[in-house]
Structure formats: structure tokens, C-alpha cells
Subunit: 440 residues, 2 copies
């Protein structure tokens, strides 16, 4: 596990004033990486680091070669239009760059004048994926989600016998990954109406969000070489938010026997900023099995190596309908949960994924699966919140929802908070539902 | 559907003598594309075309700019170390290049002397993937395979209700795709022994092959823009052989509810040569549903557009054990089937994949799923041939197999043959099983 060091000192302040504001997602203790350019411009995308309400433009900083050694090499890699090279350089390189940036952005830094010209307001930026994702894998790591969904799809058999042993996952679609702000078109697909003998092609009537954590792979592993559990976090660059948009009616008709396909692959969105494991070091939580539950097989058991495999990371999903927007009403929170309740840790996902020799590559993306908590209010999807569409969720002004409607905007937020440390935020992941293609 | 034109004339011969031999996989009527270099060299990989026992080096040919117009542009694209740009240029560009190469390689061509210096014997070459595969999707298009496997996994419910309506598929792993010749390490994973309450981590005891056809995507489609069935073949560059190596014991324990994952993603191999749809034009077969079976939903029904969506493509799988090899015995054929028996066509796969707006990109790979035929002898996997491991398959010299053993070499072959046309072959896809990592 990454150690808590001087970069986490809650007393540190930045010469970027907005970074010092209470409640900022991006204090100097965070320094997440992303890929951006000025909105509406034809500039090249390049790496940047969020600091307060600003972005430090790493593409503009790199040619000045302000850092030497590993930090300098990592800076050069981060100037590119995708951060795969930075991610692949390994945890030590990213840590060296983060430390150099922490020094450079600190109040009193001699670099302040040079760097001030390289700030771009986040409000003036647009983003793309932080990496070219070779493969995207989605796990199913919340036992609370698996149980709740299992109850809807298989009332007699909610949690399958393999769940407590196998970090269940499936391969997702890399080509339809998009960054926050992407407008998701309601997908069309085969659905089987209740009682019907023949399916029909229709726009989904059960469009849902899934509140997930994403993990970008750092250093890869060669095909045939598993990553042992004690080394797994050395292969993780950082975390982000992920919305695994899902069409539940398409899913229930197509998913047997080979799993979800068109119900998921029309779009998956991620937040622009990738928060490094270094920044999250103060917020690790013990990972244990509840009493009476079986321990994992030894290849997945890292309690001997570290006792804090989890992340105390608060997660939220908010909904703003078109009529809320028109009326100027605030969005309404529908889901809140915490990543510490995940049955499987990120390390376990990495090690399980590679135990058969499967090779992960820098910039690959893992999804955690919907993170639902132990209480009904902590459900991370509308499928769960509405009991499979049976119970409408009441919204402001008499509106209600079972699933998403056209014009709905979904926003995810996540943050870590544990005094005396500064809050570490993930920023936002938003997406708005567009009408189905045939209806436009 | 691609038309039969002068490039298919069975009377055509090449100045490359080996291309004219009866039974050659690569007569001048074929001209498949691949990516190669001299074996053991440090040369760059580049595109080539198979002709008889030779490869015409397109990387060496391109700088001379022997062709003008679309053929010349396609040639430049084919000189690269991956053929994504050629594939993305569309069917007309690839057809123009194939026609120009057909003229240049014909007996009496004025280009003979210039091109003869650019031939590399296939026996002196090594290959890599024809494209950088962004996403790999595996279908389940043989109803005979689905029924046989369903009977083993779900005796009471072999063919699920969605099968005849939905071209079932799942996303596979792109990072572990390898070309013919790759040695596949027996994977380790969680398995549940019969009667056991707790799984164990073990090298698979049920390693299998799956005899499949691969399809490389040519021109892509934008996210949100489905490909109608009548245009689907314009998005397919060509076909190859594909072995979806599978660990059946890992698969049966992990696959519910999200489908196969570690049971498949340790390696998937493809043949080096991609046979274009142009070359396959004389071998198309009518695509119809047997009497009494439901027609597909209209978005998947191309009988109004063309009546020959299938491919009359013979498929074979051969096994050579280590002891056969030591004794100099010939490999033994285990599987033979024909792609014309597929329940779903390649066009239907493309259209279904995109009906929800999912974007395919040039060089993406589709697998057909195991192609098994209607009779028991036409099973395309050991799982089927051995009845789930219950009935050993007798080999020469008293050997037998239920699943693959270390040292086994699996070879797939495929070809089209329909007089008076010249035989169009796919070459070979081979792979040898290495012992599990822990056992080495």
C-alpha cells in the first residue's frame, strides 16, 4: 500500500488560491491527472493536473524541462494526448512527478511565476479519455448489488454459489468509452415484452445508470505472467468515476448464457480526472470478511501483506430531469454508497484478472461494478432503487422515475474525507440522455 | 454481396509457379492479406499478399508506387505494420488493390521482373496480427454448437429461448490475441471439483479448442449510427481462422451470471492470412431458415437484399500429440464442419452488434463462435466430441483424449471449393500447448 507522506500534509497550501478553499475537490494534496484542451479549440489534447479550479497544463510545461530524473521523464510522458506512457512508467515515476508538482504548486514555490501562465481554468476546458483504453473489464464487486440484482433476475437464487469466491467480471466495450459530458443516445435493441412469445426491436424503456469506480492500469504484465496479490497495486495508476449505462430490458433478454452485450456497450462514461493511489493513501480502509464468511483463496488474500485494501470513498448519483433544469431546481440525490463496502478490492481484481496469465496493459480500465451499500438507500442503480421498475421514485414537483427518461442528466460525485486530512475529490461525471435515434 | 468478376476466372495463372499448383491455398484468385517479416529478423513488420508458396512484400513494393488511384492509396496503407488503415479505407479500396495485384501477378505481366525480387518464401516468414484489434467480439452463431454445449451445461434447458432471435455474443480480450504459432500456456484458475464445497486454484484439466471463423472489420461506423443489414458486408474486410482456446472447468465455475472471462482470455489465436470477401464471392451460399423456424426480426433479415449470406467454407481441426510428433505420425483430424451451417451470418453479426449504436472500428475482430455442424461428427470442440469429457476420443497407437494435454498441437484449416472455380484456402492456424506455469 502507498504510504502517507509529506504531500498529504493538511497544512500545505498552494499559490493557486482556489485549491485552498474548504471543500475543493482538488487541493494540493490531490493532483489528479487528466487530458484536456481549451473548449471549442482545435488544440491538441495533452495532459494536465487539476489544482483548485484550474488545470496546470503539462503539455505546455514539459518543453521547459523544469524537473530532472524520473519526475522529468514522467512529465514528458504526461504531455502526450493520452497518458498511457505515464501510466506504463510505473508507480514510482508517477509518484516522483506528483511530488515535483506538489513542490512546484506549493505557496512560496520559486516556480510560481513561470507556472501561473500555464494555468487553464477548468471552466474553459474540454476533456477526453485519460488513456487510450486497450481493454475495458467490468467487475461485479459489490455483494450488495449482486444480491439485489440477483433477486430481481433469479428470485429463487439471488447470489450464485461462485460469488463469494470468484471476483466475477466480463469484458466490456472499449470503443464506446467516453468522457464526462457525453450525451448518451437511448439505445435500441431486442426486448421481450411481458407475456410475449416473439421479441421486438424497440428503444429501451429501462435505461439505467450504474454507479461505479474505475481503475486505470499503470504498469502492465506480460502475457503468461500473473500479478501476485502483494504486487497488484503497483499495477494500478489511479481511480476515477465510471457510469456503466445499462438497458435493463435488452439485458434481461440477451444475457444468457454469455452475459451482457448490447445492453451495455452503447456507452460507458468516465470522469476526466484520475486520482492516483498516492493521493488516496490516507483513506485506505481495512479489508476483512464479515464473521462467518469464507476467507478468499490464498492467491486473493492480501491480509498478510497489508490490512487496508479498501478505499473509504463516498459515492453519489444525482438526477436532474429536464423539467428540474427548466425550473432552475437543484438536482436530487438518488444514490449514495461507499467503496469500502466492496466485497472485492482493486488488488483482488488485478490479481484475479491475471491469475490465468491474461495480460493487462497500461491504460486498460477496470470497472468495479455497481457499488451498492448494505442498506436499501445505498443502491447504486435505478434497477435496485425501483425494485426492478415496480416502485416509482418520487422526485420534486410530483415527478417520478423508475428508469431514466429523455433529457435526464445523471451526475456522479466521489470524495474521500477523514480529518485531519484534506478532502480528496474526484470531480464530476455527468451525462444527459438523448432520445432514441428513430425518435429524432 | 460481392460479385464474381474476372479476378475469379479459373483459367488465370500466375508467373509465381507455386500459385498454379492444384490444391494450393493461395492461387492468384485468392490474394489474402497479412502482416509479416523474415523469421528471426529485426525487420519491421509490413503488409504482404500470399501467392502460392510466396509472399509479395507490399512494404517493399509501395515506395515504387506501381499503382495509381485508389489501388495506389490502398497499397500505401498496406505497407504499414498493421492493416487497420487498409481495412478502414473500405471495400472499394481493397478491391482496387486486389485487382491491381491480380493483374501484376498474372502470367505475362510486365511487372514480373520488378516484383519477382519482392517475393519472400512463406517458409522464411514470421507473422503478426493483421491488424491492431481495438475490440474483439465473439459470437455464438452455430445453433448446433449452442445446443450441444447447452445440453452439457443445462441438460433440462439446452437451447435458451433467446437463441433463435438474438445473435448472442460477448466481448473477448483483445490484449491476448496472438497469431498462428503462438504456444499457449495451460492456464491456472479457480475450479470446483465435483462434489466439493470450496473451489481450488489449479491448472485447467479441461483445455479445449474452439473451431471458429474470424471476421476483420473494414470501414467502421460512428457511435450512435447502426449499420443496416443491406450495408453490413461493406463493413467487413475479410475472414480468417480463429481458435478460441477455452478452459472448460474454469468456465463452468465462473460463467454465471456475466459470461466467460478467465476461461477464454488467456489466449485467442488467429491465422495470419485474411481472405477478402472479394476472393470468397464464388462460394456464397443461400441463407435460409429451416422450415418451421421463425424468420429473424426484420432488421436482421437480408433475404430481400441478397439470398446468399452464407459462406460454403469447409473447416477442419487436426490434432498432433507429442508422441505422434516423436513417432513421425501424421496429425489426426478431429473436427470438420462447414460455415454454411451457421445460424447467423456475418452480416447479421455486424448489424446486430451495431443496432444499439455500438461503434465498430477498422481492424476490430469478430469471432463466429464454434462452428459445429448438424451431425455429431461435425462438432467443433473437444467438449462436444467427448460429451463433456465422458467419452475419450481414440487416437492412433492407443492414445486417447478427452481434453488437450501438454505438447498437443492443434491445427485448423479452411477452404472453399466449388468447380469450376479455383480452390480458395485460408492456410493454417496452429498452436501448441505448453505446461502450466507452476509446473515448469
Amino acid at each position: 500500500m502507498v504510504a502517507v507522506d509529506a504531500t498529504h500534509d493538511p497544512q500545505l497550501t498552494s499559490w493557486v488560491a482556489s485549491a485552498n478553499a474548504a471543500g475543493s475537490d482538488f487541493p494540493i494534496q490531490n493532483l489528479p491527472f487528466g487530458v484536456f484542451r481549451r473548449a471549442g479549440s482545435r488544440e491538441s489534447f495533452r495532459g494536465g493536473v487539476a489544482i483548485g479550479a484550474e488545470i496546470l497544463d503539462l503539455g505546455a510545461l514539459a518543453p521547459a524541462q523544469p524537473f530532472s530524473g524520473p519526475a522529468g521523464q514522467a512529465l514528458a510522458a504526461s504531455a502526450q494526448p493520452a497518458l498511457n506512457a505515464l501510466m506504463g512508467a510505473g508507480a514510482a515515476a508517477a509518484a516522483a512527478l506528483r511530488e515535483a508538482l506538489s513542490l512546484a504548486l506549493r505557496a512560496g514555490s520559486p516556480l510560481e511565476q513561470r507556472l501561473r501562465r500555464l494555468l487553464v481554468p477548468q471552466s474553459a476546458a474540454e476533456y477526453t479519455l485519460a488513456a487510450e483504453v486497450g481493454d475495458y473489464t467490468d467487475f461485479y464487486a459489490s455483494i450488495h448489488h449482486a444480491t439485489a440484482v440477483g433477486r430481481l433476475f433469479r428470485p429463487d437464487n439471488p447470489l450464485l454459489p461462485n460469488y463469494k469466491w470468484v471476483p466475477i467480471a466480463y469484458h466490456g466495450r472499449a470503443s464506446s468509452l467516453r468522457v464526462s459530458g457525453f450525451e448518451v443516445t437511448r439505445p435500441t435493441g431486442q426486448v421481450l415484452a411481458a407475456g410475449a412469445a416473439v421479441p421486438e426491436l424497440a428503444a429501451t424503456r429501462r435505461l439505467d445508470y450504474e454507479l461505479e469506480v474505475g481503475a486505470f492500469i499503470g504498469r502492465g504484465n506480460a502475457l503468461g505472467e500473473p500479478v501476485p496479490i502483494g504486487a497488484a497495486e503497483q499495477h494500478v495508476f489511479g481511480l476515477c468515476l465510471l457510469n456503466d449505462w445499462s438497458a435493463r430490458d435488452i439485458q434481461s433478454w440477451e444475457y444468457q448464457p454469455l452475459g451482457p452485450f448490447l445492453a451495455k456497450n452503447f456507452a460507458t462514461t468516465v470522469s476526466p480526472w484520475v486520482v492516483t493511489l498516492e493521493a488516496l493513501a490516507p483513506f485506505r480502509t481495512p479489508w476483512t470478511r464479515p464473521p462467518g464468511e469464507p476467507p478468499p483463496l490464498s492467491y486473493l488474500d492480501d491480509t498478510g501483506v497489508r490490512r487496508a485494501g479498501g478505499f473509504d470513498l463516498e459515492l453519489e448519483a444525482w438526477l436532474e430531469t429536464a423539467s428540474m433544469r427548466a425550473a432552475g431546481l437543484a438536482p436530487q440525490r438518488l444514490s449514495h454508497s461507499n467503496f469500502r463496502d466492496s466485497w472485492w478490492t482493486v488488488s483482488q481484481m488485478v490479481t484475479h484478472h491475471t491469475v490465468n496469465g491474461c495480460n493487462l496493459q497500461p491504460g486498460d480500465l477496470l470497472g468495479s461494478g455497481t457499488q451498492s451499500g448494505p442498506t436499501p438507500g445505498e443502491a447504486g442503480s435505478l434497477l435496485e432503487l425501483s425494485g426492478g421498475g415496480k416502485h416509482a421514485i418520487a422526485l420534486a414537483r410530483g415527478e417520478q422515475r423508475t428508469f431514466l427518461e429523455d433529457g435526464d442528466r445523471v451526475t456522479f460525485r466521489a470524495w474521500c474525507e477523514r480529518p485531519p486530512f484534506r478532502r480528496i475529490g474526484f470531480g464530476e461525471l455527468t451525462g444527459t440522455v438523448r432520445p432514441a435515434r428513430a425518435a429524432r
